[in-house]
């Protein structure tokens, strides 16, 4: 299992041909108190860089983009009931959705943990 990161402050946990996607702790700290999360429909085909989900804080709405191309296999319904999970456990319980990876070569353009740490430093 590897975890990769995007410049838009999303993380991807890769297990076989499935990627679990969420936003980073840095992203949640910038967003502030999350009050609403809108998730994509299961079965939707997402293209890389397409707006896939929305996360709203008291102040503003932000898009969460599909970091890679793939079909939505599962979404985290717990976020609808408890959006504040994004603040309390961004890297864990607050995963957004799972994608079936369409093209593994797209993973090559993402950052590993060390590179992401330098990106946010």
């Amino acid at each position: 299992m590897t975890t990769l990161y995007t410049t838009d402050h999303e993380w991807l946990r890769i297990e076989g041909d499935v990627a679990t996607i969420g936003v980073t702790d840095y992203a949640q700290s910038q967003l502030g108190d999350v009050v609403f999360v809108e998730l994509p429909k299961v079965g939707r085909s997402l293209k890389k860089a397409e707006a896939a989900a929305v996360v709203e804080s008291v102040k503003a709405a932000s898009d969460v983009y599909a970091p890679i191309t793939g079909e939505v296999l599962e979404v985290n319904d717990a976020l609808a009931a408890e959006p504040a999970l994004v603040n309390s456990d961004a890297a864990g319980k607050a995963w957004f959705f799972k994608l079936k990876i369409a093209d593994k070569s797209e993973l090559g353009g993402l950052m590993d943990e060390a590179a992401y740490a330098r990106h946010t430093a």
Binding site: F36, S57, V58
Partner: protein, 382 residues
């Protein structure tokens, strides 16, 4: 280089160093570098203000004195009445009143507070409008009045149910003030102008302080265990829950005071049949609306789902109609209501509380109910 130039172009308030030292997340607002939130976060800052006391830096707002050349405050009041639809002559010494500068079309140039300080009027106007307001006052009132901006004064709001207790520790006499009472007070050795007012829906005070004493004064208040510094984020969610207009968003030059649901602020003396009816810019447009109403009206809106519906969202009468009937002018999440809240403009036929309308958000129509404001009851000490 470009970024740093932009940053240096921003103005700062006398509390800027305190904000950055207190962990304020600074953002540009109305030309000023202002804290949008502190480490506490918008949600808890909001709730703390409703349950305890919050300190807000509103020094970016404009403070001005208006004096009649005759020396009689009545002449300053009558002069100002040429620019606003309010009865200024009736504002008693030590009292203040909400007003609007109108333009010839009846639109709102700015909204403001007008206080009677005995010998002169004291005005507080919006930051983004203050240069324009000063020019407007000079252009129209210089014949009879002296207009003096007070850029060397900070403005601090202390808001919430514990605001009185906190401020009374430094100045017991403020407990005798009622909502909209105002005037000079000496607090802890500082010559302040204090009014019992604010923009959160809570009881509280707005305190004008000489700039050089502002940081020490703010620190004294923040030293009280009940007080937290509050940023612009919570200021916005608090005023939205209180149903209060934000100039440039909920009201502007394209909206009249009647469309903005502000006719409560226009006294009988300035209405048809009143002692000084009309005589302000746009009276020809506004007076008939006071009698017959306006075709559209600002209303409170409660989205039925959990999704915040924000400024700019178009409004529709039903789920399918292609005809936009209005738009959201302010919207977000109300932490005290634990639900999204908004305000916007609708045709009067749909402006009654309980009406169902739809906002379009990311390609989906979401239902909203027209609701009475304030969304959260205010707690002013009348």
């Amino acid at each position: 280089m470009l970024a740093s130039e932009t940053e240096t172009a921003l103005k700062t308030t006398p509390l800027h160093a305190l904000h950055t030292a207190s962990g304020g997340r600074m953002v540009p607002f109305a030309g000023y570098d202002m804290p949008v939130q502190f480490a506490t976060g918008v949600m808890r800052e909001h709730l703390h203000t409703r349950s305890s006391a919050g300190l807000f830096d509103v020094s970016h707002m404009g403070q001005l004195e208006l004096r009649a050349k005759s020396g009689r405050i009545e002449d300053a009041a009558l002069a100002l009445e040429r620019l606003v639809p309010q009865d200024i002559l009736a504002v008693a010494p030590g009292r203040q009143r909400y007003a609007q500068f109108t333009n010839d079309a009846g639109g709102i140039l700015d909204d403001l507070m007008v206080a009677n300080f005995g010998s002169h009027l004291f005005l507080v106007v919006n930051a983004a409008c203050k240069a324009g307001d000063e020019a407007h006052l000079r252009a129209h009132l210089s014949d009879s009045c002296v207009i003096e901006p007070l850029p060397d004064r900070a403005l601090i709001a202390l808001q919430g149910p514990k605001a009185e207790t906190v401020l009374a520790r430094l100045c017991p006499e403020i407990s005798a003030m009622r909502f909209m009472d105002t005037g000079p007070r000496r607090i802890d050795g500082v010559d302040c102008f204090v009014s019992r007012s604010g923009y959160t829906g809570e009881d509280g005070f707005e305190i004008s302080v000489p700039a050089e004493q502002a940081e020490a004064f703010a620190k004294k208040l923040l030293g009280d265990g009940d007080v937290l510094p509050i940023g612009l984020g919570a200021r916005d969610s608090l005023r939205l829950e209180a149903g209060l207009c934000l100039y440039g968003h909920d009201i502007d030059t394209s909206t009249t005071p009647v469309e903005g649901a502000l006719e409560w602020s226009i006294q009988k003396s300035r209405r048809p049949g009143g002692a000084r009816a009309g005589g302000f810019p746009g009276a020809d447009a506004i007076l008939p609306q006071l009698e017959k109403g306006a075709p559209r009206r600002r209303v409170g809106l409660r989205p039925e789902g959990r999704a915040p519906v924000r400024e700019g969202a178009p409004l529709f009468a039903d789920e399918a109609s292609s005809e936009q009937i209005g738009k959201v002018t302010s919207g977000g999440f109300g932490p005290s209501l634990n639900a999204p809240v908004a305000m916007g403009y609708l045709p009067v036929s749909l402006a009654a509380a309980g009406s169902l309308v739809f906002a379009e958000l990311r390609g989906t129509r979401l239902p909203l109910r027209v609701a009475a404001t304030p969304f959260v009851p205010n707690t002013y000490k009348r």
